[in-house]
């Protein structure tokens, strides 16, 4: 993708976000989180076309695309999807290479290792 095409893709995304901001004043509150994750997915899609999206971002986008429409079906399912998306993100943050190239280790007790974020919060 050349620079002009890339700029246009970002312009489309900005248009989506700006009109979402205005429309959300009058829309269902659930559409706010939906638009945010949809915007995140669109951003990753642009990055993917420009070969900038790594496996973490692609995994997040895949999850969003698989479950985002649960907002139209069942608010409880949508909430669970967002919780699991945050869990995925936290796992990625924990295993992300630091800026210096090292690996940051999440400070977790052995008991918490592998548990979903929500359960850790309850216990903490």
């Amino acid at each position: 993708m050349n620079r002009a095409e890339l700029t246009e893709k970002y312009f489309e995304l900005v248009g989506y976000m700006v009109t979402s901001a205005r429309n959300l004043l009058d829309e269902s509150p659930l559409y706010g989180p939906f638009r945010l994750v949809d915007a995140a997915s669109r951003l990753v899609a642009i990055m993917e076309e420009d070969d900038l999206a790594d496996q973490r971002l692609l995994a997040i986008r895949k999850e969003i695309e698989a479950h985002k429409y649960s907002v139209m079906e069942d608010p409880t399912k949508f909430r669970q999807f967002l919780d699991s998306l945050v869990d995925l993100l936290v796992s990625q943050i924990a295993s992300s290479p630091g800026r210096g190239g090292g690996v940051y280790r999440e400070k977790l007790s052995c008991e918490n290792e592998g548990k979903p974020l929500k359960e850790r919060r309850k216990e903490g």
Partner: protein, 174 residues
Amino acid sequence: MTEVLEAIRGRRSVRSFLDRPVDKGILEQLVEAAIWAPSAGNAQTWRFVVITEPERIRRIKMVSPGLLGDPPAVIAICQDLDEARAKGGELGASFLAQVDAAMATQNVLLAAHDKGLGTCVVASFHRGAVGRLLGLPDGVEPLLLVSVGWPANVPSPPQRRRNVVFFEVYGESG
């Protein structure tokens, strides 16, 4: 079950489309179905704008957060609210025009479903922005957008609420 009831029950909101155009002749049939919808007081103050140019659809998408996927066609369901007011008073503009638009939209959805097309009704868009991009004159408002295309993915039917129908009096399920 009659074909009409099958069509009503089989239609889904499709948000994922194949990269394949829809013939103009089919789109004309969809808007022909629209203009045969009931119209309060026979006002027929609706207007329909069929959009197929990819660049125009791209621009409309920029101001239409609810327009998801990449449909090859979009139908803007509009109303001339000045004419609706002149014909039906304030009720005509504030209510009947909306109802007429909804009934015309359902006709579009069913006619499209009959052709094997997928559709999705969109209300999440900026009316002023879409009006400008479509060159709508003053007084004509876009009320709904309908994305139209060949489905890439048809969602499974969502559950329908059953406890919303009563017979004779509210609360009696008959």
